[in-house]
């Protein structure tokens, strides 16, 4: 294998291979604790909170923006839903809707609209909103509060094992069906024959992936409800970015803002939409976190924005805009999650963990810039 081929492979699968390597290392050094169903189930629950936000952040960074306010919105979302459910005794659906509106849509709109309208970098706007949101959270409640039962349910409920099995099976068959349908449909349009390898490999990979999920969730308590929601969000976002106009416009705006404008794209609305979506996802993460822990803390989500941005960047999304995708971010989230989990099992202090995370971020960016400019 030549050097170029090697670089090409690492460009395409580098982070994925890194993830597998990290998993292998922890699997072989923790006496099987890491690979136990119980640990992996907990790991999935832990990564969902950060993962949710990282999905929105992918779109924002893809468009050449950044959102520093997400950590504060996690805290605000948690406290708000706590106030609405336990102090004001609102119906949970109303409480959640109001929280998503006030701690998600509103700050997201301010982040996007103001930075676009007055043409300054969202770094500044979101820094302001980050500070305001944290201040507001502490104003509402300087101490921790418990949340309503429904909120706890969202964070703690596990889907019964038979239902988990049905959900996973349906998901797998849906995936396989869509893959095959798309390939056949495409070959008909382009008048080429279907390449079997392009069908078998993704379907086989999906079979392995879903079996793994099945093993983890069926041998320990069933699938966490949070994980199901996260999976739906990931699927919807992937669809948004790859199959819709909005997604295409996001790539266009991040790749060349001026040219996008001159192509008749409404930059303002697409840009604002991405920030609103990120805000809503952050507020929702706040609700889920509060539910999982059974209560909301005003300082929850502190410095989450950095982990989120790290996950997105490790996943190959360019801070310059125009490049990136959901699958990459997903791998980035898993890398950070597995590292934290594995190092905790090793008994390393959180200070050491921080250093390692920092090193991983820098390595990921080096890998990206080394492999980015290869042409064949």
């Amino acid at each position: 294998m030549t050097k170029t081929q090697l670089l090409l492979i690492s460009r395409k699968y580098g982070t994925f291979i890194a993830l597998l390597l990290i998993i292998a290392i922890f699997a072989s050094t923790t006496d099987g604790i890491f690979l136990s169903a119980r640990n992996l189930s907990n790991l999935s629950r832990q990564t969902v909170v950060i993962g949710n936000i990282a999905i929105g952040m992918t779109m924002v960074i893809l468009m050449g923006g950044i959102d520093l306010s997400v950590g504060s919105l996690v805290g605000l979302g948690g406290i708000m839903v706590a106030v609405f459910t336990t102090r004001l005794h609102w119906h949970p659906a109303v409480a959640i809707a109001a929280t998503l509106l006030l701690a998600g849509v509103l700050p997201g709109f301010i982040n996007g609209y103001i930075s676009e309208k007055y043409r300054f970098h969202p770094f500044v706007t979101t820094l302001g909103v980050m500070t305001i949101a944290r201040g507001a959270t502490l104003l509402i409640s300087p101490v921790s509060m418990s949340v309503g039962e429904t909120i706890k349910f969202i964070g703690q409920y596990n889907i019964p094992k038979p239902v988990t099995l049905i959900i996973l099976s349906i998901s797998f068959f849906l995936y396989a069906a869509i893959t095959i349908y798309a390939a056949v449909h495409r070959s008909r349009y382009e008048k080429t024959t279907v390449q079997l390898s392009k069908l078998i490999i993704p379907v086989a990979a999906a079979a392995v992936f879903f079996s793994l999920l099945g093993w983890v969730f069926l041998s320990y308590r069933g699938m966490p409800f949070m994980v199901l929601i996260f999976a739906l969000i990931v699927t919807a976002s992937h669809f948004l970015l790859t199959q819709t106009r909005t997604g295409r416009y996001m790539y266009a705006i991040g790749g060349n803002n001026q040219a996008a404008r001159l192509s008749g794209i409404n930059v303002m609305s697409t840009w604002t939409f991405a920030f609103i979506l990120t805000g809503v996802l952050a507020a929702f993460s706040g609700i889920m976190l509060a539910g999982r822990l059974g209560g909301a803390t005003p300082t929850a989500g502190n410095a989450y924005e950095l982990s989120v941005i790290a996950a997105v960047v490790i996943g190959g999304t360019s801070l310059m805009g125009g490049v990136g995708n959901i699958m990459g971010t997903l791998i980035g989230i898993f890398i950070l999650g597995v590292l934290t989990n594995g190092m905790s099992l090793w008994g390393l202090s959180s200070y050491v963990q921080m250093c390692v995370q920092g090193i991983v971020i820098v390595l990921a960016v080096i890998l990206d810039s080394v492999t980015k400019n290869i042409r064949v």
Partner: protein
């Protein structure tokens, strides 16, 4: 004949997809002014960048001899040390520094190692300017000088060291007549001192006035070098353009039909100088079945006119009435323009036209995704099909529609931008410098596409700085000068001289 002070032999320079210079040879004698002419894209500037070390040795093939010895410049500074200085078309002065600071930039006289000796710097600047016969205060800021004076500062900067060869790339393009005369005097004085000049210009009058000999390039190839007395205007044109002028412009005339676009009193305010206009009460009509060309010099307001029609400026700075099929429009942004059937192919393809990292397919459909989407979801098979049709009809050379456009040649990139505009199915297609930086073959193809569009009833408006292109393709020519339309010519009466007269603000 003496041995030449400078020789360039068999210079070949390639860019991805284009051979900018192909086996070019150039000789400069001591104390002569050598004209260098050729169409836009003939390779003049590239050749001079090779000579002055902008393109370092190794990025081109061929050899350069300076006073009989091989030289290999790896950096502009090395060329400078050998006495070769270049003044680029765009001035390279720092506006916020003063004359002396610019002239001695990075070569400041110092004391104690690194403290600038200002008094000596101003004294030296005085001397240099005196020698050139210019009366200017060395402490004056560049930003406060006219373009002509700035040009003189550039020359002062270039000749302050012992210069032997001075390259001037279109030095007069932004000068007034008085300033041009001053420049001529300066060049003659330099010539007396034995300095050789290479003088690049599009203006034949200047070439005949100041040069001793002239070298001609065409499509990156060397045509020849001729003493000025052996040449006249027509001969020079035919050498520059070559025999294929007829083949190049495959103009098919169509009968002009109804008026599609009508622009009345269009004004664009100048953001940097309140009270003045970039576009000053421009009115015109464009009819079905015609190619309407906008001619004029750089900065005459042509691009600004089109950008304003396309809604690219904020509504606050634009006034005027734009009508399509006699219905008035309210164009606030490019999206509105596209909805009204106006499409624009911008002059700056890479900055404003393309998404370089995105694929051919994504670029072509970007402005017309609504047509192939159900709700918000893109119909991808249909997208591939439509893109396939454009790749075929525009003859875009590519193995697949998934290729990122930054790997394509200039000509193919231009076709992608064209495809993007065409996919919006416009009534009026505005092309701003549609053939800039693309090779001759691709130019002919673009011209053919323009003919085809006009035949299909699309109104084509073309901005072009290439005179031959304007004369060859346009049915009607509007000439702009300082934001105003100064003349209108039809295909039969148009000549290069008439256009130039209007373009420089003269009247017949």
């Amino acid at each position: 004949m003496n041995s030449p002070v400078l020789e360039m032999r068999h210079i070949t320079k390639k860019f991805p997809g284009v051979r900018a210079l192909d086996d070019v040879t150039l000789e400069v004698q001591k104390g002569e002014i050598l004209g260098l002419v050729g169409e836009n894209g003939a390779g003049k500037s590239t050749l001079m960048k090779v000579l002055s070390g902008v393109y370092p040795h190794g990025t081109y093939d061929g050899e350069i001899f300076h006073k009989g010895e091989t030289v290999r410049f790896h950096h502009i500074n090395e060329a400078k040390q050998s006495g070769i200085g270049i003044i680029h078309q765009e001035l390279n002065l720092i506006p916020e520094l003063n004359i002396a600071e610019n002239i001695f930039l990075n070569e400041e006289p110092t004391v104690w190692g690194s403290v600038i000796n200002y008094s000596e710097m101003y004294l030296e600047t005085h001397k240099i300017l005196d020698n050139m016969g210019i009366d200017m205060n060395p402490r004056r800021k560049i930003a406060h000088l006219t373009m002509g004076k700035q040009q003189l500062v550039e020359i002062a900067k270039a000749i302050k060291d012992n210069i032997e060869i001075l390259i001037l790339d279109e030095p007069t393009s932004s000068l007034t007549e008085v300033e041009v005369d001053l420049l001529y005097e300066l060049l003659r004085a330099l010539k007396h001192k034995g300095v050789s000049c290479i003088f690049i210009s599009h203006k034949f009058k200047e070439i005949f006035h100041i040069c001793d000999r002239v070298s001609i390039l065409k499509d990156g190839k060397y045509v020849g070098t001729y003493p000025i007395p052996d040449l006249n205007h027509d001969k020079m044109v035919s050498l520059m353009v070559g025999r294929n002028i007829k083949e190049l412009f495959v103009k098919e005339t169509a009968d002009p039909g109804e008026c599609v676009l009508e622009v009345n009193d269009l004004c664009v305010k100048n953001p940097t100088r309140p009270g003045s206009f970039l576009v000053d009460h421009v009115s015109f009509k464009a009819r079905k079945g015609e190619i309407l060309a906008f001619a004029g010099l750089m900065g005459s307001g042509r691009t600004e006119t089109m950008m304003a029609i396309f809604g690219a400026y904020s509504k606050k700075s634009v006034s005027g009435d734009i009508r399509i099929h006699n219905n008035s429009t309210n164009i606030r942004n490019p999206a509105d323009a596209l909805k009204n059937g106006i499409a624009l192919v911008t002059e700056d393809r890479k900055q404003l036209g393309l998404h370089l990292l995105m694929s051919i397919k994504e670029n072509i459909t970007l402005a017309s995704l609504e047509k192939i989407s159900f709700a918000n979801v893109i119909n991808k098979p249909k997208e591939s099909q439509i893109v396939g049709e454009y790749i075929d009809s525009l003859k875009i050379k590519t193995p697949s529609d998934q290729i990122a456009v930054n790997t394509l040649s200039g000509g193919n990139q231009q076709k992608v931008v064209l495809g993007k505009s065409l996919a919006t199915e416009p009534l009026v297609l505005i092309l701003d410098e549609p053939t800039r930086g693309i090779d001759v073959g691709a130019k002919v193809e673009i011209f053919k596409i323009m003919n085809e569009l006009v035949k299909n009833g699309v109104v084509v408006i073309m901005i072009s700085s290439e005179m031959l292109e304007v004369l060859g393709m346009a049915d009607r020519i509007l000439v702009m000068h300082e934001g105003k339309i100064t003349g209108e010519l039809n295909r039969k009466e148009a000549t290069e001289e008439k256009i130039m007269t209007y373009a420089t603000g003269g009247t017949r």
